[in-house]
Amino acid sequence: MSAAALLRGPGSLLLRASSGCWCRRFWAASGKTAPAASPGSGARSPFDRQLKRKQKNWAALQPEPAKYDYLREEVGGRVADRVFDITRTFPLALDVGCGSGYIAQYLNKETVEKLFQVDMAENALKNTMETEIPTVSVVADEEFLPFKEDTFDLVVSSLRFVLIISLKFNIHQVLKPDGVFIGAMFGGETLYELRCSLQLAELEREGGFSPHVSPFTDVTDLGHLLGRAGFNTLTVDTDEIQVNYPGMFEIMEDLKGMGESNCSWNRKPILHRETMLAAAAIYQEMYGSNDGSVPATFEIYYMIGWKFQESQARPAQRGSATVSFGDLAKINALISRKK
């Protein structure tokens, strides 16, 4: 689909976990757009964090907020898996942007001895789920963590856009040397069906289009960002979760219920009903399956980064290999010979 390929977002260094628009209350997106194109230290966030906080608070106050938790629970579980993969006990851990504690509910006391949970939306913290780990909940701006340097052995974060801005100045700082950061965030393919449908509909109905889905980071940029933030031994892997819905309107409603409505500065505050109708028809036709349901793709990037310490293993120097990959078949002989 050539038009759709053109319409794919700029895939720049911005990130955020977000989603379709649908006119929430529009706080006049005052002309301070300038989506920060570079993740440099002085870059202003392209997202309106005050609005994000209001959206999260609103979502947490809805009847049955747990109804929209399915995605976060799934990703929280996968992040917890990665924590278990590291065979260490972490005396003190931090969950940035915890929501109702999606990661904590999967962890146990042997792995994490004490947990601090930070979220900018106080109502979300009121709904925290049960976990056997002693926890302290803190309402704080995720970009300005109120902790001393070198405090935590483990920092986790799941699906929070502010991650990249925070990475260098906050998460890396509060980690102890030899501490590890495990994070999950939405990747570039997330909600591409929604993005394309809205763009095509707006083009056809209104003659132009503006972004309704936030831009996401490219996976290649992620490595650079983590590296520049000071992390070592990076691991980034991607995963795709596809959720089927009856139609586009249900997708948008669920995104709103998750507190994931668009909050970037350059969002258009109005989405006309006709355009929405057109987009729903296009979505159904282009992506729908035989039983009438439509898929929505969530691409998740998982990242693991370590804070430097002398004792950590480091990649060996180039050219210092003593065996070759070609000898892999004879590996048993090699090992017994070494013994």
Binding site: E204, G247, A280, I282, E285
Partner: protein, 70 residues
């Protein structure tokens, strides 16, 4: 616009969209096909390229809205 009532009423109307759309399946498919066709062929997607199909969809939609109004 003032007051919360406007938002609540607007949202209420929007909540009915999926069921109204379900009743206009043919028109929706026709419109969707028209737009999808422009993404593959040589024709470029411009404003109102599929206007006829959209008007049909809109008519069906508004009809459904009227008949199911309380």
């Amino acid at each position: 616009m003032s007051g919360q009532g406007v938002w609540l009423r607007a949202r209420e109307r929007l909540r009915r969209f999926p069921e109204l759309l379900a009743g206009c399946r043919d028109q929706a498919v026709a419109y969707g096909r028209c737009v999808a066709a422009t993404t593959t062929g040589h024709a470029e997607l411009q404003k109102d390229v599929c206007r006829k199909e959209f008007e049909a969809l809109k008519q069906c939609f508004m009809q459904a809205a009227k008949t199911t109004m309380k």
